[in-house]
């Protein structure tokens, strides 16, 4: 947990955070820092507590123990609205959209753009529709109709709306909970590019993903969680791509899987072929042999 890389107060600092749902302890003893112009990756198995952690940052939940500081000031958000007012924008894993509402209304929900003054102040519908269409087109999503209820969009389209919205409104901190899960290769690429841009503009980014190929290139800090506890926190200097991948994948398990399949292959030639392929994948995932490929 080195503080070597950056100086100055972090945008967001959580210390020794704990969260319980009734008797369920979802998170305990977790600390996290987000610095301007840095990407903090939170990695971990399913159910490790990643989403719970970011929900605390975004004001959806309050921690049961631990402290939370924004720009050095201790805070206690009782609603996401307060976090938003501090410039913290979030893409939730469940996307937080209102299914029956049109796409553009969802895009601007909570941050509507208005024109006119006083009692005549009203929504600037044309601007919001156009912006929604443009922002989504930039992500590679060409909507038929921004007036479609968002509930009728495909999973990936819906995720793109949530991301485009957060990117559009994110002022200081951008939190992304598995943003690329349902996305096509092209759209996922765009999201990575967005993260780089936000980083370049000096925003602090929290990025949750299960894909080490996405995490390593863009991340500056890595926080690993396991069963609600921190497994380790590293800056990029302190960890190699291989080590990270192994930690994430539970590398041994994947190897075991391919061995198992090979065993079965004795009985079924066809299966053997696939086992071979998987083995290659494993090799590629958890310990690449060509060192010159690695950057930095």
């Amino acid at each position: 947990m080195s503080d070597t890389m950056t100086t100055g107060t972090p945008l967001v600092r959580l210390t020794d955070c704990e969260k319980r749902y009734g008797t369920i302890i979802a998170l305990t003893g977790v600390s996290l820092e987000v610095h301007p112009g840095e990407v903090t990756c939170v990695l971990g198995d399913n159910g490790a507590g990643k989403s719970t952690l970011i929900k605390i940052i975004s004001g959806m939940h309050q921690a049961d123990a631990g402290t939370y500081e924004v720009a050095g000031e201790p805070v206690r958000f009782t609603s996401p609205r307060e976090a938003l007012e501090h410039g913290i924008a979030t893409v939730y894993q469940d996307l937080a959209v209102v299914p029956l509402m049109p796409v553009w209304r969802n895009f601007f929900l909570g941050s509507e753009v208005r024109k006119g003054a006083g009692p005549l102040s009203r929504l600037d519908i044309r601007f919001m529709r156009d912006t929604t269409r443009t922002e989504l087109r930039n992500m590679g999503i060409d909507l038929r109709d921004v007036d479609q209820p968002i509930g009728t969009l495909s999973g990936g389209e819906r995720q793109c709306v949530a991301i485009a919205r957060a990117v559009y409104f994110g002022a200081k901190v951008l939190i992304l909970d598995e943003p690329t899960a349902a996305l096509g290769v092209k759209q996922a690429g765009v999201v990575l590019r967005y993260i780089m841009r936000a980083r370049a503009r000096g925003l602090g980014v929290v990025f949750i993903t299960h894909n080490p190929h996405h995490a390593y290139p863009v991340g500056d800090r890595f926080l690993l969680l396991n069963r609600g506890r921190p497994l380790g926190a590293y800056t990029k200097d302190e960890i190699t791509r291989e080590r990270l991948t192994t930690l994430m994948a539970g590398g041994e398990e994947l190897e075991q899987l391919s061995h198992e399949l090979e065993g079965a292959a004795a009985a079924d030639a066809d299966l053997g072929r696939v086992a071979e392929e998987l083995e290659q994948d494993v090799a590629e995932l958890s310990g690449r042999t060509a060192p010159p490929e690695q950057g930095a």
Partner: protein
């Protein structure tokens, strides 16, 4: 509206969209179905009931609809916001009772009573909203409790103060004339009596429609009703919106109460019970979802009109009063099925 998008991105027609005629596009609007129901019922009674044909009959129907329709507008907004208010019916009576008894007992100008009645109605709304948001108890239960308590207070306090079950007559008190002009004026246009409550009804419907579709608050109302936790997650002030909606119901209940008071100069303390369901029924006929997140103020107005028209139409037609409820149920079912059929047709007509 679709032009706005087209100018922004002048693209060739999307090959993934089937073409649709302008008529089909009009018919696909959510209000069209319930409007069709209203028109068909109107035509039906026009055909079978000669007294129904006169303009004076229309005035009567509009008036009857307006007394349901005014609170129904607020109830519809609340239902779009995902909550119920069972206390709306008796809140109407409560505010009228308070306004008249306070002014009468203390011999004050009526406007003082009117103002206190407004405060009370808003207070009840705020209390409902606060309890719902604070405790998380379903609004059905919270407002059921306030419904019963208000009903009890109406009866008991009226009894204690007046020794009677109705409020005293206030026709000769200060401020009556002006207040009547505002809340319950009646114009006689060549034998045709037009009532101001109809005008107010249309006005409130228009305002509510504008708020729902053209303002930020409207966006928030749809959002808190459609997916409360999502709305909260993107920064909608859910609590304020919902309390505001309950207070809106309080406001229009008060308004209806004033209409009642200045139309009839006194109020029965037991009145209003059961009307809360008429408001909900009007909203539902007009297409509001009971589960929240969907509906329109125009729909609620249409629903009130359908209900008012059917209730009066059966009387104008002179059908046997014993069968009244049966006809009412059958016509409502018919109107709803027609509404549905229109929507299905327009969806099929691509």
């Amino acid at each position: 509206m679709s032009q706005a998008a087209d100018t922004a991105a002048p693209s060739p027609p999307d090959e993934r969209l089937a073409r649709r005629s302008p008529l089909a596009r009009l018919l696909a609007r959510p209000e069209t179905g319930s409007l069709a129901g209203a028109v068909v019922i109107y035509v039906f009674f026009f055909a079978v009931a000669p007294p129904f044909r006169g303009l004076d009959a229309l005035a009567t129907i509009l008036y009857a609809s307006s007394t349901i329709g005014i609170p129904a507008v607020a109830v519809a907004l609340l239902m779009i916001g995902g909550e119920f208010d069972l206390s709306a019916g008796v809140a109407v009576t409560s505010s009228a009772l308070v306004a008249s008894m306070l002014s009468f007992q203390l011999t004050l100008n009526l406007w003082v009573g009117i103002a206190v009645g407004l405060l009370l109605a808003l207070g009840v709304g705020a209390l409902n909203g606060y309890l719902v948001m604070k405790t998380g108890i379903p609004s059905f239960l919270v407002t059921l409790a306030t419904f019963l308590m208000l009903q009890g207070l109406n009866l008991a306090i009226t009894k204690v103060i007046t020794g009677n079950v109705a409020s005293p007559d206030i026709a000769d008190m200060d401020g009556f004339g002006a207040a009547r002009k505002v809340f319950a004026a009646e114009w006689n246009l060549g034998g045709l009596s037009l009532r101001i409550s109809v005008v107010w009804w249309l006005l409130f419907t228009a305002i509510a429609t504008w708020v729902l579709l053209r303002t930020r608050v409207g966006n928030w109302i749809f959002a808190v009703g459609g997916a409360q936790s999502s709305a909260r997650a993107v920064g909608v002030p859910v609590r304020r919106v919902k309390i505001g909606l309950f207070m809106t119901v309080g406001f229009l209940a008060w308004f209806t109460g004033m209409n009642l008071l200045f139309s009839f100069t006194t109020v029965q303390s037991g009145e209003g019970v059961g009307n809360e369901f008429l408001y909900i029924i009007a909203a539902v006929i007009g297409g509001c979802l009971l589960t929240g997140g969907y509906g329109s103020a125009i729909g609620a107005a249409t629903g009130a009109f359908i209900f008012g028209m059917t209730t009066q139409g059966i009387v104008y037609a002179g059908w046997n009063a014993d069968w009244f409820k049966f006809f009412l149920g059958a016509m409502l079912l018919g109107a709803t099925l027609l509404n549905l059929w229109v929507r299905r047709r327009t969806e099929a007509a691509r």
